[in-house]
């Protein structure tokens, strides 16, 4: 019996930190999500994948300025290209990417800008990034989409503000 009790105490000494670690990480996660406002994509509506080029806003892909320093980039993904594949904004801009697919599943990743979203046919994907430093930011398709998947990409060109 004594051996059983010792085992029980060791178990308890391990169980308590085992609860504390995930709870601590959860708190950190909630703070960044709701305190710092780092959000995930959510429900943004559907679009008929066979009628993308007739559906607003994807009938006119490109960049629109919503307000000073705030832009919306409407992008259509299809095998194996983004339209448009080059976007120019001044440094310090916040850009919301609104993306959908005409065919298979694609992805949309901008490294260093916290933009990472799946692009599904039938769904509108929306993700926002901030571009402070001038330079080129490649956006890549990061979901296998066929034989030339590795050629599917584009660029955000951030120009020094005048």
């Amino acid at each position: 019996m004594r051996q059983g009790t010792t085992v029980y105490l060791y178990e308890l000494a391990w169980i308590l930190p085992s609860v504390a670690i995930p709870v601590g990480m959860l708190v950190a996660l909630l703070v960044t999500a709701f305190g710092a406002g780092v959000h995930l994509p959510g429900r943004e509506g559907r679009v008929d994948p066979t009628r993308v080029s007739e559906t607003a806003p994807f009938d006119r892909p490109g960049v629109v300025e919503l307000a000073p320093g705030r832009y919306e980039a409407r992008i259509v993904a299809e095998v194996w290209a983004f339209t448009p594949n080059e976007i120019r904004v001044p440094a310090g801009s916040t850009v919301t990417f609104v993306v959908t697919s005409k065919d298979v599943v694609h992805g949309f990743l901008i490294h260093g800008a916290n933009v990472n979203v799946m692009v599904l046919p039938g769904q509108v994907a929306r993700a926002t990034g901030r571009f402070n430093k001038p330079g080129e930011y490649p956006f890549l398709c990061h979901e296998y989409c066929g034989i030339a998947h590795h050629t599917m990409w584009g660029r955000v060109i951030v120009e020094a503000s005048r």
């Binding site: 051996q3 059983g4 085992v7 029980y8 060791y10 178990e11 391990w14 169980i15 085992s18 670690i21 995930p22 990480m25 959860l26 996660l29 960044t32 999500a33 780092v38 959000h39 995930l40 994509p41 959510g42 429900r43 943004e44 559907r46 008929d48 066979t50 095998v79 697919s101 065919d103 298979v104 599943v105 992805g107 990743l109 490294h111 260093g112 916290n114 933009v115 990472n116 979203v117 799946m118 692009v119 599904l120 046919p121 039938g122 769904q123 509108v124 929306r126 490649p138 890549l140 398709c141 990061h142 979901e143 296998y144 989409c145 066929g146 034989i147 998947h149 590795h150 050629t151 990409w153």
Partner: protein, 539 residues
Amino acid sequence: MNDNRLTAAYVTVALVALFGGVVTGLLQAIEHAGLIFPPLTPVIQSYYHSLSLHGVLNVLVFTTFFICGFLQFIMARALGIPLASPRLAWFTFWLMAGGLILAAIPLVGNAATVLFTFYPPMKAHWAFYVGLTLVVVGTWLVTLNLTLTYRAWRARNPQTRTPLAAFMSLVTFVMWTIASLGIAAEMLFMLIPWSLGLISGTDALLARVLFWFTGHPIVYFWLLPAYVSWYTLVPRQAGGKLFSDPLARTSFILFLILSIPIGIHHQFTDPGIEEGWKLLHAFLTFAVFFPSLLTFFNVVASLESGARARGGKGWVAWFGKLPWGDPSLAAQVLAMLLFTFGGVGGLINASFNLNLVVHNTAWIPGHLHLTVGTAVTLSFMGITYWLVPYLAGRPLWSRRLGLTQVWLWFGGMIIFSNALHRLGLMGMPRRTMIGASAYLQPEWKAALPLVGIGGTILFVSGMLYFLNLVLTLAASRGPAPAVPEFAEALSGPEHAPAILDRWRPWLALTFVLILIAYGPTLVRLAATTPFNAPGLRVW
């Protein structure tokens, strides 16, 4: 004896698949290192054809067939009775083998180059979907046979606690059977009728939700059989005892309850699912980390009991006193070591918005190769170091070759996986023919050769493994080794509350959590999805 032949049949299929998976893996790795992809042949027609073969053979075929063979073997030994129905068991094997052949024809013929996740609207040949579905149906029949065997044992032993290894084997298959309902629904209602031309359209989001309903718990289906070995055999192989039997049962019940309602953590970046449900799945994923930590403690404490019995001393120094000369034990202890890093990485993946940094980058295959590629694969290799000689009735051809192989896997994987993790943090996408990509970034170039070097070491390790097994079958002479006995426990089943040996409350809780976590999203998608995406062959 009949059970032994059944296990031998499953393990044979599993190892043939692993061989194909290791060979194609080498091609991916050297492509990343900047070497030209080998001349394309009718056997391997593109990088992505090779990648599809690599994924399907390793994580769908090797794992599933090995687990079916291993756990049916363990179940019968732990209960001390044969499987309830040998005829059902053999029918199941041939059904699964038939399904595998059906799926393999389009896969090998480049008509199913859709990777092991086969997301529609990318459309494979119908035989690929039908074949994989038959394999899944086969696993349900394994569950049926294990359940019948358990009931036959229970009828004769109404008061006894279920032996730990049998309990764990049954939990594994029951969890998997519930989990596989997602992929079964995706196949039966979406992909099969669509690939046969009976319905014209499909939907990417609903298919992904159903896929990941199964796709996350499938990692526990791979992992729990390794845990069965770590909990019930490895302590004895290390010369010690299992630390706590009740804690082991508790962790497996928690895996039953918590493995399934967390799949949306693979879809954090998917549009079309509310952030609130994603947060709930993140929360439950943290909860399933708890039984993993219990396992870590219990298994390490058991190893320690073995090392101390062999004269080990100190806080950490006892670790050196484990029987490192046994390739079976060395493989599994090294698998545990690397799995620690896999577990930590998994927490990062599950961390909701932190996932934005790593989703679909090379970080993910880096993680996957630590978990299924090492914790599972290296453990299964360790198990085969006693299982194959036992089934073949002769000793392992060379223990030293076995040890070399095991350490090479460990070292190669550290190089390979570390490079992929770092490349992922630098924004390199996964599942991409990087060497030919139009956007190869200068900062990736330092780490890419390490992918090739690590992958080549893993390939060499894999070949030494197969060489040892082939020579065991062909050239080894001598008496067969005994099967490791199940470990006794320091704190045995008599300390476990009786409720840990009951099924209904835990199954009820499992279904309630699934309903809460998935019910609203699935109902909404089933009711509103238009199924208007036509299929495409894009390779």
